[in-house]
Symmetry: C2
Subunit: 106 residues, 2 copies
């Protein structure tokens, strides 16, 4: 029980930026793809532009991603790029999540 | 990638009551112990009474736990009891979390 409690106390104190399921999903997707267009992310996760934009701002403020305008002949596109700091924070968060899930022996 | 996106879309829509790491930790602990005194939960997760109380209210409103006053010779104690509905919701949430974590192949 001592180890389980330690894992659960770590979960309680886990990263509030990544605790949000939508931001966690965005970061997991970026960890697979390194960079994605705003519209690709929106489609993959079925989010409104406003909702995705607000979560991306929080991730950018935390230094976990950066965004870049890409000019195309038709219209400018927003590219969302995973930062090294974001990847480190993500793996740390996943580790604390996994330990907490394992606490249940499941 | 299709399966991963499905798992991540499910994560985005996952249970907001259980998405909070503190409430998830409370529920994981209760899933192991079925019932715990308020003071035991507080000590195990290192939470202030106000913080624990506010999370328990949200879990109670969702029908996931119930609380019961237990009279002792010294002082009344609050017992926190896991409800069947809470256990079902917890396992469903853990399943969606695990699928999302697996999406990264990690």
């Amino acid at each position: 029980m001592g180890g389980a409690e330690k894992a659960l106390r770590e979960l309680v104190r886990s990263n509030p930026v990544l605790a949000n399921p939508t931001r966690l999903a965005i970061m997991l997707l970026l960890a697979m793809r390194r960079k994605m267009y705003f519209s690709e992310l929106q489609k993959a996760l079925d989010l409104t532009p406003g909702n995705l934009g607000s979560h991306l701002r929080k991730l950018e403020e935390a230094g976990y991603i950066r965004t870049k305008k890409v000019l195309t002949r038709i219209r400018p596109l927003t590219l969302v790029i995973l930062e090294a700091e974001g990847e480190i924070a993500l793996y740390r968060h996943l580790d604390s999540l996994r330990k907490a899930l394992r606490s249940l022996g499941a």
